[in-house]
Symmetry: C2
Subunit: 281 residues, 2 copies
């Protein structure tokens, strides 16, 4: 499918993608780029990449995956647009899309093909050590085309992510950011806040934490670098979702305050039924 | 250990307790009491209980477990104090303790021994169908003695829950309710609210919900009857915990608003480190 694939950022997503590319013979070679030499050494040692290089050598790649924290994606894309040879395809796999496309739109070159991609395939572990085969299997992959995207390149990227086992969905980039504020960024904020609250209370009796709480805060073990970047880059929608959530908390609190048992039960039941309908999908 | 054990309320906890009592030969017979005949039939059919009766016959039991929703525990305890024969022991297994003990304290009889118990062993499933062996294995069981509790009866209950595989902890009843507001009731309120918010938004794009969100909202599938009772009975501490949580949400929101990356990262990191310290316990 490709000659030399470059993976910029050999973290969980970059490394797992490299593994799948090699396993499925989607490229002649997979080259890692990362400013952390230890990650590159580990990736090479575990057969995640065929070799590594410096970004000055990026032009040997005809397909590049930018899998760095979202705060650096724009700078790396701009740099890559200047380095890559004509006809190369470059994708980023950041979990924020509208904000990134907006920031780099002016810099996109006509003959280097950029396609914004979001594979819904994170887990709370991070780094090359967490790389795993099958991470993308049956996962959704959202592509957010912009005005003037090269349709041939988009098609090729769609085929690439399908070859990794993913299901392609097309979405508007701004709508993507709004949707993921609610279903992904807000849940992380909530988990971090609950764990933060319990930590600050610092009460030794809190050791009776049960299984429910543990599962609930599993995602609070995610990379703080990655998530603070996401929250800031998707600031507008994230803040909207926080406000709406607090509104819901206050509504339920008021029902409890008034001891309105019927209203509380009705509210909880709706949530349970919806939860069950999600699980059936 | 006992002759006839009565289980009032053959739901998840009551039925699972009945199963363990029978498996460990802790009683000559286990008798179920429930106003839902179907639950009793199921419990009998699956060998959870040896038989069932009406509450008029409760006096044949020398040991009674009240495992009904917390809103009915006080009434059932008061009724039982009047029916049981001298020397009987009765426990309730409600997840709220201070509020219950307060409400029934005046009615406790000198020669019928009441011991308030909270086994930390819930799962999100409910009803007799969810009953399972091993539910209590290695779980904490909190006993909240009150002034004037019969120490011999308390010791016997401690030995009973140890025989079910649990680890006994002693706590003040009001402190218990405060602690569990934070580590159990608040997480449920949050989960219900997040799922409720997503449901009300009713956006078909929310189908891209990932694994993180699913785990997170697992507890929103819990029994709304049970949880609305708990929230109302533990109203004071629950409302305090909601307020504190909202305060934390607003603090993080302000950091995001100011785009204070360092503060956000520091806050998330503290939460992650605490989360990891919990997991190591």
């Amino acid at each position: 499918m490709f000659d030399n694939v470059g993976i910029i950022g050999v973290g969980l997503i970059g490394s797992s993608m490299a593994l799948e590319i090699r396993n499925n013979n989607l490229a002649k070679s997979v080259i890692g780029f990362d400013n952390d030499q230890k990650s590159l050494d580990t990736a090479l040692k575990h057969g995640v990449i065929d070799g590594y290089g410096s970004l000055d050598e990026l032009s040997i790649c005809d397909f590049v995956v930018v899998a760095t924290p979202v705060s650096s994606i724009c700078d790396i894309l701009k740099m890559a647009f200047n380095k890559l040879k004509k006809g190369s395809i470059i994708i980023d796999v950041g979990s924020v899309k509208g904000a990134i496309v907006k920031q780099i739109k002016e810099d996109i070159k006509q003959d280097i093909y950029y396609v914004p991609v979001h594979p819904i395939a994170g887990i709370e572990k991070f780094g090359v050590e967490a790389a795993r085969k099958g991470l993308f299997n049956n996962a959704y992959c959202i592509i957010t085309p912009f005005d003037g995207i090269n349709e041939f390149a988009q098609k090729k990227v769609e085929n690439f992510v399908k070859a990794l086992g993913m299901r392609v969905e097309i979405m508007d980039a701004d709508e993507h950011d709004w949707v993921f504020a609610y279903i992904s960024h807000l849940p992380h904020i909530i988990a971090y806040n609950l764990v933060g609250l319990i930590e600050e209370k610092n009460n030794e009796k809190f050791r009776f934490i049960g299984g429910g709480f543990r599962d609930f805060t599993r995602i609070a073990a995610s990379s703080e670098k990655m998530w603070s970047d996401i929250f800031l880059l998707n600031k507008k929608s994230v803040m909207e979702s926080i406000d709406e959530f607090i509104g819901h908390m206050n509504r339920l609190k008021e029902m409890i305050q008034k001891e309105d048992r019927e209203a509380v039960m009705h509210y909880l039941k709706r949530a349970r039924l919806f939860k069950e309908s999600i699980d059936e999908r």
